[in-house]
């Protein structure tokens, strides 16, 4: 009878470990959130407090940046972001930066109104193409319409040969144009504000 018992234990134990493998794999996946996280924008108050915390503790930023999106419950990537003032900073920051240099973009008009996007060190491409960083759902925008790139700690706006042109304020830009915080970029029906 001992033999019978051992056989049954081996048989059921095998199934148990098989299921443990599946469960561990699911646990790994549960923690594996990557890509673009979209969070619902907070009330103005909490955004200001975020900005405040960012200016106060610049050293703590990179660590917090990596952690913040990953700590989100993966089941609810949209919405339900805890009201705690988690610092939201661009993922790649450059040390030598002009004090007036912009750090992020906010879409203030157009179909994407309300979307904010950090300025990435790799540059931000705006356009209708799915490969753009800011994908504009705008009939007047070109596939790769304009880009914002960094050079020597400054950010430049540059038109990528679009059909309808890129406007900075009221001026249509001709070449790479220096960007300052507070300026507005207009592409087709979309207005993007540059913020510090």
């Amino acid at each position: 009878m001992g033999g019978e018992l051992a056989v049954s234990l081996l048989r059921l134990g095998y199934l148990l470990i098989l299921w443990l493998f599946v469960l561990f794999a699911l646990l790994v996946l549960r923690r594996d959130v990557y890509g673009t996280t979209i969070m619902r924008r907070q009330a103005k108050q909490s955004r200001k407090s975020k900005r405040a915390s960012r200016t106060q503790a610049p050293e703590a930023r990179p660590l917090a940046r990596v952690q913040a999106p990953l700590d989100l419950p993966p089941a609810t990537p949209v919405g339900a972001y805890p009201p705690a003032p988690a610092p939201i900073a661009p993922p790649v920051r450059v040390s030598a930066q002009h004090p007036e240099a912009p750090t992020r973009l906010v879409v203030t008009n157009g179909p994407l109104r309300g979307t904010t996007l950090p300025l990435l060190a790799t540059g931000v491409v705006m356009g209708r193409s799915a490969l753009a960083n800011l994908v504009l759902d705008d009939e007047y925008a070109s596939g790769r319409h304009a880009q914002i790139v960094q050079q020597g700690g400054e950010w430049y706006l540059e038109d990528l040969g679009s059909t309808n042109g890129t406007y900075l304020g009221r001026e249509k830009i001709a070449g790479p144009t220096l960007l300052r915080a507070g300026q507005t970029i207009r592409i087709g029906n979309t207005t993007v504000e540059v913020l510090r």
Partner: protein, 482 residues
């Protein structure tokens, strides 16, 4: 309204190692339990088998650490687990065939060799393909090679017929199913072709009944796919491969264009093809009869083309019940071809429904990681490639498991990683390697400023004018970025 933030992933290499160790433990436990059940002692080569398999899996793991550190942590352990379980089941059947059917007695050794070849091929793929986008350069090369692979078994002298399908080629002592590799090559071709032409397919064309129909000339590739898969069906009598290719093409067209009309067109075309084939070919009618009425005595006893195999498989599943008979304690060898098409019922008999569901979940995990990779990767070619490969894997499982459980008519496709068959094993390992490569690209965070050279991005106005003049004068292409 929304804040868009790129989130950096965990590399997950330690998680991968942990899962890999559990997968190896399961593979060795299965092997030991089979031997214990059949001979009451551990197999003599247990240590060598364990050491060899561990070394192989760890080698793959360390190559990933070295060359694809951000690759998905779940894909490799799942593939190793499925391969290990398949090996144990084939070893178990081979031990039985030594008594009953000596012509199949060496399948375990062969499968072990093919496993080594497969893992080496996967490692070589990860090492050789440093960036999946380089594959896009070989779009049309892949198309030609893939079509050649599909057609070559028909060449007399090279191709041979077995089990009613002419899909094998023999070169010396080696036999190979080139359609398995064509699957990968044609996925690369379709990804490359569609990423270049999807706008024309998605946007041009008339609108009928709310469906955006494509223009007639854009139907070219799907017509080609239809003709080729029907040709496979007619001349090679391989229903499964034909189904796989057609499904693959339709799904990739749908993903590339986001137009449901492709699915409608694809399903209608396939229904038409199958209806015609049903009328024309006796073996397809037989397949449908087996599916609908397997327990009919007339269908059961017909030879060839009876439903005996399917019924044996179903009885095997029934014998397994909820928790199975345990490794080595059932009689899966009673089912003909229990090591290839019917390995799922063999596993269902010895591991029960509980084990079978866990195995199916492993496939689900593999497919899900493939689709997740497709969402995460930033270039269109990578998206289509990962979608196509993951779909091919998942669809094969659906066709085989659906076939042996009487959800759909039984067709000859191999269960990825589990079933006996060298070409299938090698090509599935290559699929896994490509998925790992694409997922490494998908999860890798964007490079920091120090890693990229920004200087040529913005040329000064003077430089720009100079370059433009130079271009005009020499009439050569000077590319001014952007």
């Amino acid at each position: 309204m929304a804040t868009v933030l790129p989130a950096a992933p965990r590399r997950g290499r330690w998680a991968e190692l942990f899962l890999l160790l559990i997968a190896l433990l399961l593979a060795f436990m299965a092997y030991a339990q089979v031997a214990l059940a059949l001979t009451d002692k551990l197999p003599a080569d247990m240590t060598i088998y364990c050491a060899g398999f561990t070394a192989l899996a760890l080698a793959a793991h360390f190559v990933l650490r070295w060359r694809a550190p951000y690759a998905d942590p779940v894909i490799l352990p799942t593939a190793v687990l499925l391969n290990g379980i398949g090996l144990a089941m084939i070893y178990r059947l081979a031990a039985r065939y030594e008594i009953t059917n000596p012509s199949f007695a060496n399948i375990a050794t062969k499968q072990l060799i093919w496993t080594i070849v497969g893992v080496v091929a996967a490692v070589a793929t990860v090492l050789a393909v440093r960036d999946h986008r380089t594959l896009r350069r070989y779009t049309y090369t892949c198309m030609v090679l893939g079509l050649v692979g599909l057609v070559i078994p028909l060449v007399p002298g090279i191709g041979t017929e077995a089990y009613g399908a002419q899909i094998w080629i023999h070169i010396g002592p080696l036999s190979f199913q080139p359609a398995e590799l064509s699957k990968i090559l044609l996925t690369i071709f379709f990804a490359g072709y569609l990423v270049a032409n999807r706008d024309a397919m998605a946007l041009a064309g008339p609108r009928v009944l709310g469906l955006q129909l494509p223009r007639f000339r854009d139907l070219g590739p799907i017509a080609l796919a239809w003709v080729v898969s029907l040709g496979v069906l007619v001349f090679e009598r391989d229903l499964g491969t034909s189904l796989l290719f057609f499904g693959l093409f339709v799904v990739m067209l749908y993903v590339a264009t986001d137009r449901p009309s492709w699915i409608v067109i694809g399903l209608l075309a396939f229904a038409g093809g199958v209806a015609a084939a049903y009328r024309l070919f006796g073996h397809i009618q037989a397949r449908f009869q087996i599916w609908l009425d397997p327990f009919n005595t007339e269908v059961l006893n017909r030879n060839p083309g009876g439903s005996g195999q399917l019924v044996q498989g179903l009885y095997g599943l029934g014998n397994g019940g909820l928790f199975g008979t345990g490794w080595g304690r059932g009689r899966p060898d009673l089912t003909p071809l229990a090591f290839s098409d019917f390995i799922i019922t063999s596993l269902g008999e010895e591991l029960g429904l509980t084990g079978l569901v866990a195995i199916l979940l492993c496939y689900l995990l593999l497919a899900q990681r493939g689709f997740r990779t497709a969402i995460g990767i930033r270039d269109g070619f990578g998206k289509l490639l990962a979608t196509g490969l993951a779909f091919a894997l998942a669809f094969q499982v659906f066709v085989v498991v659906g076939g042996v459980t009487r959800v759909i008519p039984l067709t000859g496709l191999t269960t990825p990683f589990l079933a006996y068959g060298g070409s299938s094993l090698v090509s599935n390992w290559i699929i896994v390697a490509l998925l790992l490569r694409v997922s490494d690209g998908a999860r890798r965070p964007p490079p920091t400023t120090s890693e990229i050279d920004l200087t040529p991005v913005i040329a000064s106005e003077a430089e720009r004018r100079e370059a433009a003049q130079a271009a005009d004068q020499k009439a050569t292409q000077v590319v001014v970025r952007p």
